[in-house]
Symmetry: C2
Subunit: 146 residues, 2 copies
Amino acid sequence: MAATRHTPARTGDDQARLDALDSLLRLGMELRRHVETVAHDFGISAPQARLVVTLSEPMRMQQAAEATACEPSHLTALADQLEGAGLLTRKPDPTDRRARQLCLTTKGKALRTKLVPAVVDGAPVVGRLDGGQCGRLRSLIEMEET
Amino acid sequence: MAATRHTPARTGDDQARLDALDSLLRLGMELRRHVETVAHDFGISAPQARLVVTLSEPMRMQQAAEATACEPSHLTALADQLEGAGLLTRKPDPTDRRARQLCLTTKGKALRTKLVPAVVDGAPVVGRLDGGQCGRLRSLIEMEET
DNA sequence: CAGAATACTTGGTTGAATGAAGAAATAACT
DNA sequence: AGTTATTTCTTCATTCAACCAAGTATTCTG
């Protein structure tokens, strides 16, 4: 019968959505916590680790700010810390002297190659999914908005 | 050829996992931000909203602390705030006078019935998934650990 | 009844994140 | 060329969630 369905998806969908939202929020928190503990084992903080992982190749601060979804002012602080730890250098961008390129040092790259698998393998949910499952997960998440 | 596969899943799985991890971390942040803006529209903070949503029925602080995955000391502060706003009352648990039950007031329940759909409907990814998709998402996330 | 464990509270501290305002360099427009 | 606007990053102050240690009250255990 499907009852009266003036609004689309007005049955168990709401509860399913609430459950999914709860799962995702909880998982997000677990993942953040996981990243934090792993990063701490490597002597850095979670936001610092996020930046190191992001820097697979040199990029300008603005790009890095977008990629890590944090504000430029915060990224300045993170870059300061990583620079102080010898993991990162700031080079002036040759094409625009306002901008600065963030480049991992040799030490930083070495850290990154150890950090990435350490984060991924032990991750709460992602660590035990195979490639196909990860793909299905992402296809649900990254669906087009419209 | 499948190359040498001493460790299980050592091909594209790692990249797929890293991508999935990135998607989930990013989504988690977006969802937290979404909850915060919606909560702010209702005059409360995101953690307060999380507690209100959790309290579908009265429960002890310890239960609420587990359900919201935050420390008891933090939950005390949240309960204080919500109590001050008239959304929540603390009743002594009849079976154990150490414990206290958190109960939404009429005002709190009214807020909750408006808050839940507002949070769910506008949520970044969850809001545009149907029940089946939410179920598939959760089945991937909530798989047994072993 | 004495001691351990549980449930919550209090106070202090840390650190990520934000926002406003400033310095340096470039782009645009006349 | 010269002036103004825009972009890029930095600095500073502030906020707030989260955590930890210690304290109080109640219940459980031997």
